[in-house]
């Protein structure tokens, strides 16, 4: 089996793969990074979103072999080493932007990619950007609110908790 090596959350990582090994399987099964989830098989739900060289990618729709040499960031790499939450993570907690938690890693990674591209998005831009992230619990209200809050915008006028 060929070997692949990449940088994951700032640390070198390598392992044996098959041609068909998906990036998400490499992360979960080989590296034990189980924060990245698989919620569908048609590339729609976004529970598996990670950053590849700074861009949001569905880890279930990319082969591990194609990540050779890439910089990967997963949900496990978002908080500070001392446990301090990333501002987006903190905003999700503050505004109850998660319930069962299964879609959450993908949501946070997509939100981080959005704010990197567009630091102060409008509500409509946030909703549009989340087209590829399905949440079944929250009705998106508090997710959108959390992302707007993480961008530094005032969300106090958005209907209540």
């Amino acid at each position: 089996m060929p070997e692949v090596s990449m940088t994951v959350n700032g640390k070198p990582a390598k392992g044996q793969i098959e041609g068909r090994t998906l990036l998400v399987d490499f992360l979960r099964d080989t590296l034990g990074l189980t924060g990245t989830h698989v919620g569908c098989d048609t590339s729609q739900c976004g529970a598996c979103v990670v950053h590849v060289d700074g861009r949001a990618v569905k880890a279930c729709t990319m082969f591990a072999a194609e990540a050779e040499g890439a910089e990967i960031r997963t949900i496990e790499g978002m908080a500070e080493p001392d446990g301090t939450l990333h501002p987006i993570q903190a905003a999700f907690r503050e505004h109850h932007g998660l319930q069962c938690g299964f879609c959450t890693p993908g949501m946070v990674m997509s939100a981080a990619a959005l704010l990197a591209e567009n630091p102060t998005p409008t509500e409509a831009e946030v909703r549009d950007y989340l087209e590829g992230n399905i949440c079944r619990c929250t009705g998106y209200h508090n997710i959108v609110k959390a992302i707007l809050a993480a961008s530094g915008q005032d969300v106090s006028r958005i209907a209540a908790e």
Binding site: V38, G39, T42, Q99, G101, C103, R127, R136, C137
Partner: protein, 787 residues
């Protein structure tokens, strides 16, 4: 001032940190040493005779450990049904066997035929392709009414027909109801479909079976809302494993919405195969597999009639519903269209006479069972749609017609066998009119029209029965289980508390809200309280989470256990302070003697309980741990009023939700933030049902909506921000917390508001449209506009 802890505080969730950092622990994250993988070969035909399943080539494939077929399970129990419905004529429902693996026949697309266990997932799947099937395809039974026709093909050869039961409720009222319709000044009739839905929690189902050859103990890790129920059903009825040799663990579970209540074949298989192969056996459902193996929801076809007198008072309701059971009876399937639907047909209104007829039908489709709301959305949709239609026919304001008929005195015994304890329907409607700014609608409609869009307003009420359920009552109604809940409160020597609850959290935030209750009762910091759930090895026998029951039933059990703790701690404190027990007061985590400055801290008392050197050993056992089982005396009855404003693009039929407002009465509230989140999620699912989601089969029983490519899930841009209010509070009178369930309300209350709004929008453009069946897709709305 908002509280910063205890009951009523919007405490941030303690669960969140692990979920937000990727440290959640879901079933698919569990990998056991030496584990093998199972792949299920599923039927791709809806109905067929299984003449031969030849596994010989598959058995010889690389990595294959063993291939199992229906023959391996022929001698053991089928998957049990937990509810027996008795029909109009006093006869029990028809109850076919539901084999773990199909035997003799396949009955729906997705019915498992064989299970291949191999060293890797892909090897198991490769081997599945080597299985040679001889299936004689039979005509598929898909349409419910055709299924009941004379001479229809039978889904189960050993049953007399495809009719599971023909249920009448209240059968004794039928004559009086018919008479009321003859006398009515006005009758409004509506035929409608409550569309079949797929729960689609974001985490697909997973099962990992394990067997310890040394102790003979079985363990099943599974994505379940109720591990004890799985242990009981699977152990006692399917595999014959005594409960003391079977542990069921449901760790973090990524949403359920009903679909993870039931005992599924894959759970039984993994448990069975782990022993047979002496290897842990894991199954992870793909989403595609979930579409054809998770129980579906709803799927009713109904005719409802509403009778009114000359003053527009409701005098009677009569309904006839066909309810799809699918190919087999899922765990609670028979109860959904009957006891969770018929008993809610009074709604918020004082209609004196009601008769509900339900014909439950077997078809060659995936089994149908409870999905968020379960029976109550179906009831609410009928009532609130027919009232809207009646108002239009009578030329009266739909809100005024509702208000005129509201129940206003409580307790209120409905003609459909339930007693509402509290409610104030005018209050929630008043609140709705305020938060939805109904006065401003006309101006908003003008703005929409200026953009070439039609705008509509839909309003409805709902009442639901949850906090399931009084065991003696449901026992009379056919439940084969009790529906109490349990809790063990274990106080540790240094004062910290571990609560083992039979409730299960799969997104509801029990670890936070349950701790708030204990914190309030004892006066210690919530951080001192740990809530443990989801493992039969450490919780008392509990019934799990569904039917918006966790806080009302499970929380009440915890309160009762904590009361026992406090009583005992008070005795210990009295001893320590040499005072009379009656003089002991507990406040802010300290016991004090009334009228003195003597006090001892919570931690001093708990330490004394475990280090009983100065302790009333003659009167009291050491230790501080109590268990309570709480069985509610009634359901809880949350209610509310919802409003939806839509825009319709008249050229394309596309509907957008512009505003959505919900005024709910949940009684007392422990964590407002969590309650609001529950309503948000429920509304999104209700809007999904109304506009987007519809599971469809073709006439051959092929599933047309087999993935997210065809089954439309609500996305962020399908919804606006939602206005949610729960300041109207009439506390429940019969549970110690005064709480009512909030988990399903949004999904129950929202579909009629959306459909009412779309009909209103189309009528504003002069279209004579009275109803469109859900989901109101652009194509359907456009087709309706073409007449």
């Amino acid at each position: 001032m908002p509280k910063d802890g205890g009951i009523g505080a919007s405490t941030k969730r303690r669960e969140d940190v692990r979920f937000l950092t990727g440290n959640g622990h879901y079933t698919d994250d569990i990998n056991l040493r030496g584990q093998a993988y199972v792949h299920f070969l599923r039927s791709d035909v809806a109905h067929g005779r299984l003449n031969k399943v030849d596994t010989s080539a598959a058995e010889a494939m690389p990595g294959v450990l063993r291939v199992f077929t229906g023959a391996d399970f022929a001698e053991i129990g089928g998957l049990p049904c937990g509810w027996l419905v008795t029909d109009r004529f006093g006869q029990p429902m028809q109850e076919p066997k539901h084999p773990v693996l199909a035997h003799g026949k396949v009955r729906h697309v997705g019915d498992p035929i064989a299970a291949i266990v191999a060293e890797t997932r892909e090897q198991a799947r490769d081997a599945a392709e080597a299985i040679v099937l001889d299936i004689e395809e039979l005509p598929a039974v898909v349409d419910m009414k055709a299924a009941l026709a004379e001479g229809a093909t039978k889904v189960h050869d050993d049953l007399t027909s495809n009719l599971c039961y023909d249920w009448g409720f209240v059968e004794e009222n039928k004559g009086a109801v018919d008479e009321a319709f003859q006398k009515a000044a006005h009758v409004t009739t509506l035929e409608l479909v409550n569309n079949r839905l797929i729960a689609n929690p974001m985490e697909p189902r997973v099962a990992v079976g394990d067997y310890n050859r040394s102790t003979g103990d079985h363990t099943l890790y599974t994505t379940s809302q109720n591990p004890h129920v799985i242990r009981l059903l699977m152990g006692a009825f399917v595999l014959g494993i005594p409960e003391h040799k079977l542990r069921v663990v449901a760790p973090d579970v990524g949403g359920g919405f009903g679909s993870k209540i039931y005992h599924y074949a894959e759970e039984a298989f993994c448990t069975f195969a782990a022993k047979a192969l002496n290897r842990p056996v894991k199954w992870t459902s793909s989403r595609s597999e979930a579409f054809m193996s998770d129980a579906h929801g709803r799927d009713h076809v109904t005719k409802i009639e509403l009778a009114l007198d000359a003053e527009n008072n409701f005098t009677a309701i009569r309904t006839e519903t066909h309810a799809n059971m699918g190919a087999y009876l899922s765990t609670f399937a028979p109860s959904i269209p009957t006891w969770l639907h018929g008993t809610l047909m009074a709604g918020n209104y004082k209609t004196p006479l009601i008769y509900v007829n339900v014909k439950a039908v077997f078809t060659n489709t995936v089994p149908v069972d409870a999905y968020r709301g379960a029976g109550r959305p179906e009831a609410t949709f009928q009532i609130e749609r027919v009232i809207d239609k009646a108002a239009r026919e009578l030329g009266v304001d739909p809100i005024a017609l509702r208000r005129q008929n509201f129940i206003t005195e409580f307790p209120y015994a409905t003609p459909v066998a339930v007693e509402y304890d509290t409610g104030d329907y005018h209050a929630t409607m008043d609140k709705l009119e305020e938060i939805a700014d109904l006065k401003g609608f006309a101006a908003r409609r003008k703005e929409s029209e200026a953009k070439g869009r039609l705008r509509g307003l839909g309003v409805n009420c709902y009442i639901e029965a949850c906090g399931i359920a009084p065991s003696n009552l449901v026992g009379q109604l056919g439940a084969r289980a009790g529906l109490y809940e349990s809790a063990t409160v274990r106080v540790n020597a240094t004062g910290g508390i571990t609560v083992m609850t039979g409730s299960h959290s799969h997104g509801q935030g029990h670890e936070t809200s349950f701790a708030q209750v204990i914190s309030e009762m004892i006066g210690i910091d919530a951080d001192q309280v740990e809530i443990v759930h989801g493992d039969t090895a450490n919780s008392p026998m509990g019934m799990g989470t569904y039917g918006s029951r966790s806080l009302a039933v499970g929380g009440s059990a915890m309160v009762r256990a904590t009361e026992k703790i406090i009583n005992k701690a008070r005795k210990i404190a009295a001893h320590l302070m040499e005072a009379a027990e009656g003089d002991i007061e507990l406040k802010d985590g300290r016991f004090s003697v009334a009228g003195t400055d003597k006090s001892v801290a919570w931690g001093d008392v708990t330490l004394a309980a475990y280090v009983p050197h100065n302790y009333p050993l003659a009167d009291l056992e050491p230790g501080l741990e109590e268990t309570a089982f709480y069985d509610p005396s009634n359901f809880t009855y949350p209610s509310g009023a919802y409003a939806c404003e839509v825009e319709v693009d008249p050229e394309t039929g596309r509907v957008t939700i512009e505003r959505f407002s919900a005024a709910d009465d949940f009684g007392n509230i422990v964590n407002p933030m969590i309650v609001t989140g529950q309503v948000h999620g429920g509304i999104a699912q209700g809007v999904g049902q109304a506009l987007l989601e519809g599971c469809a089969y073709d006439e051959n029983g092929q599933l047309l909506t087999g993935s997210f490519m065809d089954y439309a899930m609500p996305r962020a841009d399908d919804l606006p921000f939602l206005a949610v209010d729960h300041s109207c509070q009439t506390p429940c009178t019969h549970n110690p917390l005064g709480v009512k369930g909030c988990g399903e309300a949004g999904a129950i209350g929202s579909p009629p508001a959306v459909v009412n709004a779309v009909v209103d929008a189309l009528r504003s453009a002069g279209r004579d449209i009275t109803h469109i069946d859900m989901p109101l897709t652009p194509a359907r709305v456009w087709a309706a506009m073409q007449g």
